[in-house]
Amino acid sequence: MSHAESIRSWQRPAAETVTDRLRQAFFLLVAVPTVILVAGGLYIASHSRAALTPEIDRFAAQRAVQYFSHQRDSFLQELSASPAYPLNPSRLGVQQQTLYDSSGEVIASQPPGLAPLPLSPGGARTRTLFEAARRGAPVLDVAAIDGRSVWIAYLPIDGHINVALLRLDAAPLENLRRALGYDVAVYLDTGRAVSVGDGWSTSISQALLDSLASFDRPISSFLDGTSVAAIPLKDFDDWEMMGAILVRATDSAPALPGSPAWPLAGLVLAGVLTIVLSWRSQMRQTRSALRRSRLGLALLPPMIAAAWLAATDAHVSSAASDALLEMGARMAVSLVEPYGVAPAELAALVGSDVVVQRADSLIASSSDALSAFPAAREAGRIGLAGRRWAYRVADTAALDRIVLLRPPLEDSRKTVLFWLAGLYSLLAVGVLVFGSLRAASRSGLELREAIGAWSFIAPSLILLLVFSAAPLIFAFYLSFHEWNLLEPAKPFVGLRHYRELTGDGLFWTAAKNTAVYSLYVPATMALALGVAILLNRSIRGVALLRAVFFLPYITSFVAISIVWQWMYDPDFGLFNWVLGSIGLGPFPWLNSPSTALLALMLMAIWIHIGFQMVIFLAGLQAIPNELYEAAIIDGAGPWRRFQRITLPLLRPTTFFVLVTSVIGSFQVFTFVYVMTEGGPLHATDVIVYHIYQNAWQFLRMGYASAMSWVLFAVIFAITLLQFRLLGRKMTPS
């Protein structure tokens, strides 16, 4: 706007002054509640976080890492300072030690005369521990030898492994053994273990995961036997170990106060006020739809604030409850012999306050919830500072169940916030609709038609806003945050994820694989066009043939993946047999990094050929027959007709098939998930699978969102390109 214009805009005719004032007043009325909302949201968010921070956050996690490395260092120091290096029997209570070479052969044993430790270096567990020790990580393990619990230390010495049996006398170690049991080896095996430092109750943290994730740094799970228990966390399929919760006794769990009620009340009040005022000012407005669209805009901030607030709050609570649910599930699992440790034992093991405590009064206080489970025997506080309640239900004699309850306040607050967000969304839609209706009545359109139209569109529009538009924005927001489901703290990290992406080799591998995979599209198109031409004639049974080609595309992709995986079997599969019978192969197909992606592409061709054929058929049938007849009269052969008529006239169809198929191929997931899980050696790791893994296996939802936005940008660019090249023309004919 030029200077003169801006002056002019301030010097409006007097007739408009009243409405301008009204408008200003209205904006104030909207702006004030907005500020209140945002402030309230900030307050609740910061309050919730502040309450959680002392217990779980990244700094604490780092402190925990330091704590453990300190523990380890002092342990090593203790060892090395002793006169009889590497182990000082008098201080550590070593009963026996055996020196193995790295392959597990016994080199020497002390004291002389005793047989070497009855370990099985060939076993997976011992091998893992050996390997960890060989890489410089002193490992302490708990095992049972001759029916007794023992500590076993694996210590690296000059390329050999010294295995020392340590004296045990503390009673809880038996429990600890049962709690840890198989876990140490598994942790080391998967390379991801989590331990939690001094003064913590329960938690899991990404920083710790990260620090323990690689063998590059020495790792050690130094667990002192009196106050620690570990609970493994598996993924949703109970298949892979994701980490572990380590439970440590604390003197008193810090209380986590619920958010105070007044910001919530303020929120509701502000919401109601906004609605009422905007409605009233709406009634007084006399100007056109422009203002109403501004009203809609003005309502956006409070909507976003409310949604954001709701999300923050939901996350604080759902993260905590997720962690606890996992823990409850683990505890239920841990009841099963032979690894089992009962919750009561666990409680005794880690101290009386933290994990499970018998408290009959709770049954009375939450009798409603409990009455649904008449078999409830015990109830107790669990985990995060008594915000959750857990109780055991004896379903059968064999298996107990842990049920977690949430305090009612939390649920109701969440509900209120979501209704508030929903209310604002509805309000915004309502304002837009109202504006549209006013505009309709002004411009002489039929009002009842417009009313009817909005009533038709409203359900779709609301669903679209809530489950597509809002998530898109939310994903963008997520990509700037560290967002771990299990960690309540979701710090803002700016562009870090995007910077990290540029240096993430695995991401680029996935991108490259996706690009290579999408090359199946042109191959399929050539075949599909051929088949379409072949079947573009009225012969008997052509419909059946078309159906046969189309069949793979509509059937279950998971079933197809399983079948093809079986056909690709290098030893007993159909492909190698057929190829072998003509003297080719055998090929490793899915088992080798060099052929796995190709195998997926072959399957993709088979699946998509029918889909593309159908579209090509439509394109072919839109070509007027007269053109061919004229060409035949002119003496053009089949190839020439194809070249001069079919191909040029099919160009829009071809282009459409290409673009949509490439976009589709960028989003391949099911085949990879079922057949290869991205392997072998990331050879079939594609973008969407990579995003899935990061979000749901490594729980890095922020980072995964950044990746998904990159993918979105690429697809968006391709789509724009499509529109550019096709122009506004949408039909091929």
Partner: protein, 291 residues
């Protein structure tokens, strides 16, 4: 945008029966049938393996047919995991999603095609823009939203995000555009309101499009994998696709069981397809070419 300009291949089904096979067509038949059999091979192989003994499959050279069809594999495999529950889940989810998608597609499509109101084109573009967004971008936030609503591992969570299909809205709009509006106007003159016009006049005329949308949303729902995989946690909530994938990882050495499960998953869609092929082809072409 004229619908009639597209020559629907589906109409060949009844009319082609009387054609004769002449000499020139022989080669084409041979080629087409050979290709067709190649396309069917994985399905045949799947059925054959599903009837083999667990150890019979580990023979080289592979047997093409089981020595003796082992029908027991089906009940055995299907009782090894809660397949009945998987199918029930899929059926429930599909039912609600089909109803929801047909409803939203028909209403919104009708409004965009027929009714005049300020802002229509902008809203329509908003819907169209949604087609550009890959589902994976929405996945994480949707999961968090559904989680915040407490709907993880519930039918509500499986259903609610899928209730609109922009593609269906588009298809319905195209279809309504192709219909004459005289009947609707007559109904308006008779005093019907917009919803009455829609229910009593417009919608009955759009039955073919409704069938197509219903069919496609059903197949899409039945086949959907990633979202159910994420949003379900317990075995009891999994739909067929996710259930079979889990079964696959549990019984990864027993190929006959897996094949039996795969056949079971394929059969419902297959049957549906056989009876409704025409709508599939029509739908793909409508959606594909008009977009």
């Amino acid at each position: 945008m004229e619908r009639s300009s597209v020559n629907r291949p589906g109409r060949d089904l009844p009319t082609q029966a009387a054609r004769r096979v002449d000499g020139g067509n022989f080669f084409i038949y041979a080629l087409a049938i050979a290709l067709g059999i190649t396309m069917l091979l994985p399905f045949l192989w799947m059925i054959s393996t599903s009837l083999m003994d667990e150890f019979e499959v580990y023979k080289f050279p592979p047997r093409l047919l089981p020595a003796e069809p082992l029908w027991r594999n089906y009940p055995d495999a299907l009782s090894a995991a809660p397949f009945a529950r998987f199918f029930l889940n899929s059926a429930i989810i599909s039912l609600f999603i089909v109803i929801g998608q047909v409803f939203t597609a028909a209403t919104a499509g009708y409004a965009f095609a027929r009714l005049r109101f300020p802002g229509r084109d902008k809203v329509f573009i908003l819907f169209l823009a949604n087609l550009m967004v890959p589902v994976i971008v929405l996945l994480i936030p949707r999961f968090l939203i559904v989680g915040a609503l407490g709907w993880v591992d519930t039918y509500a969570g499986l259903i609610v995000t899928e209730l609109i299909g922009v593609w269906g809205i588009f298809l319905m709009r195209q279809y309504f555009l192709s219909l004459p509006r005289e009947l609707e106007d007559a109904a308006r003159i008779d005093g019907a309101n917009e919803w009455q016009v829609f229910w009593k006049v417009a919608l009955p005329l759009a039955k073919p499009a409704v069938a197509t949308v219903a069919l496609f949303s059903f197949v899409e729902t039945w086949k959907s994998f990633l979202w159910p995989l994420i949003v379900t946690r317990s075995m009891g909530m999994r739909p067929v696709e996710v259930g079979i994938a889990a079964f696959h990882s549990l019984y990864f050495t027993n190929w006959p069981y897996q094949m039996a499960a795969a056949v079971t998953a394929v059969v419902p869609i297959l049957l549906l397809f056989l009876f409704t092929q025409r709508y599939f082809v029509q739908g793909i072409q409508l959606a594909g070419l008009k977009y």
